[in-house]
Each structure stands twice: as structure tokens, then as C-alpha cells.
């Protein structure tokens, strides 16, 4: 087990990168602590797999350092780093049986025969592969193959870390849930550092204690699922996490705060002074649909909206509103009656986030 530290890491697949757009990873400094269960969440093509391959040593980064327990490992092979990685699509050694597949990483490390046997049986039991243990791996179903692939990572209990690169993509939904539970169990049992790459926020939050959200080659936020939900650090996090994502409204400065469509939103004095430190005109206000309060009685803090659509999703409703020329979504309880027509929306101050150049600005709260 190891603490994995990335120091101003950057990677470009082209030999002579000419600008930031040539980089798959742009300047990441980050630490994965010993024994943690982490998820690396982001859309396709944001550099997640690149980062994973750099950590495991399959790829040498163009710039920056990778440290395992404070030792630079940039030049070390995956073997020397002693790291396990499970790929998105199953890789099985098809001339071998399932048992031989699972035993392969252990045999390569020169482990004693009877210990291999115990380890393999243990993992086969966890992954429910006992029935096929002595069959040729190439005759398995896709699900089973991926389990074998994962098993080869899990049999090694002395590894620095196990990296999962969207390992459940090919697995059917029911089994997916089960395997995720298994991984969590294994993590609790052996306390191995695990990094789990996914583009599915549900998968990330069920597996990980802390999630790193990656966007455009950068980690834009690293926090617990709750932090990502309540305090998105970047407009992308707000938009990507949550269902539906955060409402983001472009606004412009005015004397008391910010303004859009002739409507003014007052800011606190602290926030106002923070805003004045920047000259950027890329300002956005964000609020989660869950935090919008809909009432039929207008007050000083509410805005009049038109209800354009109500989607009833069984346990909650999504109400689409138009405020001026902005469309906004609100998520309300199932039993909250909403009628088409005019409605008044309140945006509680503590859930209203201000973004300058896509990043959150906030008063320091003690």
C-alpha cells in the first residue's frame, strides 16, 4: 500500500505540444492517500484513463512527477511499482484456465504454490467464479471474463494500489451493483488504496469515500459526494453531478450585486468585495434544483416564474420554469402540489453560488 502523489503532472500524446489543447492532462497536483477508496469521475475523453495509465506506469508523463510514498517512480515499470490495474474491456489469457489466469500475477511474483492456491480460491469465492475455476477462460461469458480480469487485480494483497478503469462497463446492471458492493467489501477487508475511474456519478458515490471530478485534463474538485453536491467548486461539477444538474445563469455586475434580465440578486458584502477583485465578465449564478423553493405567495425574496413543464418521476417532480428568458429546473417533493401557470421561486442565499470564470468564489466561513 502506498500514498500516491502527483506533482504538477501534465501529459500530451503529441511529441511537440503547441498549446494547452494538445494536452490530455494539464497540470494536476493531487494526492491519493494510503488505504482510501477513491473515484475519478468525468466525461469521456477528459483524461481519466491517461491519468490511470500514468499512475500505473504504462505511460510516462510528459511533465511532472509521480511519487509513491514520497519516492519518485516516474522511471519504474508497473512491475516495480507493484500496482494492479483492471481495464475497461476484459483481458484474459485465453490459453489458460480461470485458475491459471488468477494465479498468473502471483506465479510471476514467485509465490509458493499452496499460498497461490489459497489466494486464488479466496478471490474466486468472492467473485463467485468457483464453478468455472477449471474451465478454459476463453469459453466464458463477457461478465465472467471481466470478473476474471478483476480477480487478477484482487488476488494481489500486497499491491501499492488497485486501479479500476471503468471495470463494469461490460457487466449487466444487476451484477454491476453486486460487484460494486464486493469491491467495497474487499476494500474494507484489506484496506488497499483503490482508484476507480467512471463516468457514472452513482457508481462513483456508491464506491468511493472521496471523488475527484476531472474535466478537460484537470481535477476541478476533490471531495466527498456531499461536498460535490452542496459546494460544487466549478460550474462543470455543478452541471455534471446531480440529476438534473445545477441551474447556471449568466449574470452581469451591478451596484448591489449581480443582475440578469433586469432582475437584481443582492450579494453579501463579503462576496461583493471578492467579486470586485476580479475584472472578468464571465459570471454565473448557480443553484441546485433541489434548493429552489416554490410558493404561490410572492414575497421580497421571490421571483415570478412561468411553469412550462412538470415531470413526475414517481418519488419527486422536476418542474421546468422560465424566469425572464432563462429556463430553470426545480426539483420538488412528490406531494408538493404544482400547478401550471405563474409561480414564485425563492433562491435561498446559502445555496446560491457565484462563479467567476467557471470557478466558485465564496466568503470564508469559519
Amino acid at each position: 500500500m502506498a500514498e500516491i502523489q502527483l506533482k504538477s503532472l501534465a501529459h500530451s500524446y503529441s511529441k511537440h505540444p503547441s498549446g494547452p489543447e494538445d494536452y490530455a492532462i494539464r497540470q494536476i497536483s493531487h494526492t491519493w492517500h494510503k488505504g482510501g477508496a477513491y473515484a475519478l469521475l468525468g466525461p469521456s475523453g477528459c483524461g481519466k484513463s491517461t491519468m490511470l495509465n500514468i499512475i500505473s506506469g504504462l505511460l510516462a508523463p510528459s511533465e511532472g512527477e509521480v511519487l509513491f510514498d514520497d519516492v519518485r517512480v516516474n522511471e519504474l515499470s508497473p512491475k516495480e511499482r507493484n500496482i494492479a490495474q483492471v481495464f475497461q474491456f476484459p483481458v484474459i489469457y485465453d490459453s489458460m484456465t480461470v485458475f491459471q489466469n488468477l494465479a498468473f500475477p502471483l506465479r510471476n511474483a514467485g509465490m509458493a504454490k499452496d499460498r497461490i492456491e489459497t489466494k486464488v480460491n479466496e478471490v474466486a469465492e468472492i467473485l463467485e467464479l468457483e464453478a468455472v475455476l477449471h474451465r478454459k477462460a476463453r469459453n466464458l461469458t463477457a461478465d465472467e471474463k471481466q470478473k476474471v480480469s478483476m480477480g487478477r487485480g484482487l488476488v494481489r494483497d500486497d499491491v501499492s494500489a488497485i486501479l479500476f478503469d471503468e471495470p463494469l462497463t461490460v457487466i449487466d446492471p444487476q451484477l454491476k451493483w453486486k460487484l460494486r458492493r464486493k469491491l467495497k467489501q474487499i476494500h474494507e477487508q484489506f484496506n488497499i488504496t483503490m482508484v476507480y475511474v467512471t463516468h457514472d456519478q452513482l457508481e462513483a458515490s456508491t464506491f468511493a469515500d472521496k471523488i475527484a471530478v476531472m474535466y478537460d485534463g484537470q481535477i476541478v474538485q476533490f471531495g466527498t459526494p456531499r461536498e460535490l453536491f452542496e459546494r460544487p467548486n466549478h460550474t462543470f461539477v455543478g452541471y455534471f453531478i446531480g440529476s438534473p444538474g445545477m441551474n447556471l445563469v449568466a449574470v452581469e455586475r451591478c451596484e448591489e450585486g449581480v443582475r440578469f434580465n433586469g432582475m437584481t440578486v443582492k450579494l453579501g458584502a463579503g462576496l461583493q468585495s471578492l467579486l470586485e477583485q476580479s475584472t472578468s465578465s464571465n459570471l454565473k449564478l448557480g443553484i441546485r434544483p433541489e434548493f429552489i423553493q416554490l410558493t404561490t405567495t410572492p414575497s421580497d425574496d421571490t421571483f415570478e416564474c412561468d411553469v412550462t413543464d412538470i415531470e413526475d418521476l414517481g418519488t419527486y417532480k422536476i418542474v421546468s420554469l422560465t424566469l425572464g428568458n432563462q429556463s430553470i429546473k426545480a426539483r420538488v417533493d412528490e406531494d408538493h402540489a404544482v400547478a401550471p401557470g405563474k409561480i414564485h421561486a425563492g433562491f435561498p442565499r446559502q445555496w446560491l453560488k457565484l462563479y467567476v470564470d467557471e470557478f466558485l468564489i465564496e466568503e470564508q466561513t469559519e
Binding site: 500505473s56 504504462l58 490495474q85 481495464f87 474491456f89 483481458v91 489469457y93 498468473f104 510471476n108
Partner: protein
């Protein structure tokens, strides 16, 4: 949809049947015809049954030739297959250097057989051949026309030079077809270079190796031109292989009956051994 049985459909098979008949069946049946008759002239042919076959199988000359042939083919396979795999593994995977290697490898394959024989015949000479002269200069007494060992070594070297590139090219294409993910997984699983070869590359080379082994066996077992040009089968009959013996019998001595009988035996041996190789390799790791 209802199927309407119509036996006239069989006529559609006719073109293929005619083609196969002219390309294989009729020539083969001619040989079968000769092998069971003793023919003196246009109107004096006698049916002799299996006499020719019995005689041919007991012919010591042919037996010796057959023995040499098996030794030669075995040596060819034992050298060329591992060597070809080795060359393929060492070749650059892409870029200019890769293309250059491919071109260099392909050159021996483009040279006509009798030219190959001539090249080596001159190359190996002690007086004007670079190879023979160099060997003698460094103190090795080398003379492929007089020494049986030298003759064998030269014939084998020539075949290895001529045909290892074929094995290497086949293996190279097989290796290129292995997805990168396998190498990545193996690297993660701490596999040694040998383990990668044994468990990833070799199993995935199996199908091209079947082709390589079969081609090299059949070709080497029927070898004629190169040793004929190089050594003429000598010294003595030490490098006289099966097809040369057969040719001498059929054309030199005009012993058509015996030659026909022996051709058929020859054909059956090639067929049998090829089948054995094929079955052995393809059943190697069938599930029990």
C-alpha cells in the same frame, strides 16, 4: 418458404467438378493407372496389381532416400520455425526500420529456386566463393562437393536462408494482430519476457504456426531444385532426396511403373504427415 427438390441443380456443380478433374483427378488417375501395369509399348501393357508397390517399398535405395528426406525435413522445421519466431520477435514494430526489415526479409523469397541453388553453389566454392573461401581461410576445411557433412550443412543453410523469412513474415503478421491491451495487462501482472512469450504471444501465434509448419514441411519434403543445382545429390547419394530419386527413376531410367507406384506412396506420406501435424497442433489445448 417451401423448398422444391430439383435434381437438375447438380448440374451447377459440374464446372467445379470439371476443373478439379483436370487439375487433380485425371493426372492423379494416370499415375494410378501406370502404377498397376507394366507397360512395354502402345499395345503391350500387363496388369501387375500391387507388384510395383511391394517392390518399391522394399527398394533399399528408396528407403535410404526416404530416411534422408525425413531427417532433412525434421532439421528444416526444427531450425526454421524457432528461428522464424525469433526473427519476428526482434523485428521493429513500425516505422521506416520496420518496413526496411520486411523488404530485406522478403528478398530471398523472390529468388527463383534454381537461382538460389546457383547462388549457393558459387558462394560455397573454395576458390571463387566468398563463403567457402572465407571458411577455408580461417582454417576450417570446408568442401561441400567432397565432404558429406559439409554438403548437408550447405543444403540446410541454403534452405534456412531461403525459407526462414517466410516463417518470420507469417509470425510477424501474427504478432501484429495481438492487441496492445494484452501486453499492458501482462505488464501489470508482472509477467516476465518469457511469460509474455509463453502465455500471450505463442498461443496467439498458433494459427499462423500451423500454416508455417505445414508449408515448410510440405515444401521441404518435396525439395528438388536447390540441392539438385547445388550438389547434384552428392557426394555419392548423401544429399539425394526423395524427389530427385523419383525423377531419376521416372525420367532417367524410364521406369514408369515403379516411379508411379512410388509417387503415390510419396503423396500419401505427405498427406499423412500434414494431417498429423494439423491435428496435433489444433487439438493441443482443446478443453478436456
Amino acid at each position: 418458404m417451401n423448398k422444391i427438390p430439383d435434381n437438375r441443380a447438380w448440374w451447377l456443380v459440374l464446372p467445379v467438378f470439371i476443373l478439379v478433374a483436370f487439375s487433380a483427378l485425371i493426372p492423379l488417375m494416370t499415375v494410378v493407372n501406370y502404377s498397376v501395369q507394366d507397360i512395354f509399348g502402345p499395345n503391350s501393357a500387363y496388369f501387375v496389381g500391387t507388384d510395383w508397390f511391394r517392390e518399391v517399398l522394399q527398394n533399399e535405395n528408396l528407403q535410404a532416400s526416404l530416411g534422408r528426406q525425413f531427417v532433412f525435413s525434421a532439421a528444416v522445421l526444427l531450425i526454421e520455425i524457432p528461428l522464424g519466431i525469433g526473427v519476428a520477435l526482434m523485428m521493429p514494430t513500425s516505422g521506416r526500420r520496420g518496413s526496411l526489415c520486411l523488404i530485406l526479409l522478403a528478398i530471398p523469397l523472390l529468388i527463383p529456386w534454381n537461382v538460389v541453388g546457383t547462388i549457393w553453389q558459387i558462394f560455397g566454392r573454395g576458390d571463387i566463393g566468398l563463403f567457402g573461401w572465407a571458411l577455408n581461410e580461417i582454417g576450417i576445411n570446408y568442401n561441400y562437393t567432397g565432404n558429406t557433412g559439409d554438403a548437408w550443412a550447405t543444403v540446410l543453410l541454403m534452405d534456412v536462408w531461403h525459407w526462414t523469412p517466410l516463417v518470420a513474415l507469417l509470425c510477424y503478421s501474427g504478432l501484429r494482430a495481438i492487441p496492445e491491451a494484452f501486453y499492458q495487462a501482462a505488464e501489470i501482472d508482472r509477467a516476465s519476457r518469457w511469460a509474455i512469450f509463453r502465455y500471450i504471444q505463442l498461443p496467439r501465434l498458433k494459427s499462423v504456426l500451423v500454416i508455417a509448419v505445414l508449408l515448410r514441411f510440405m515444401d521441404s519434403f518435396m525439395i528438388y531444385t536447390e540441392p539438385f543445382v547445388l550438389t547434384g545429390g552428392g557426394p555419392g547419394s548423401s544429399t539425394t532426396f526423395l524427389s530427385q530419386t523419383l525423377t531419376t527413376m521416372a525420367i532417367g531410367q524410364f521406369d514408369i511403373g515403379r516411379a508411379a507406384a512410388f509417387s503415390l506412396v510419396y503423396f500419401l506420406i505427405v498427406l499423412l504427415v500434414s494431417w498429423l501435424f494439423f491435428t496435433a497442433i489444433t487439438h493441443l489445448d482443446k478443453e478436456k
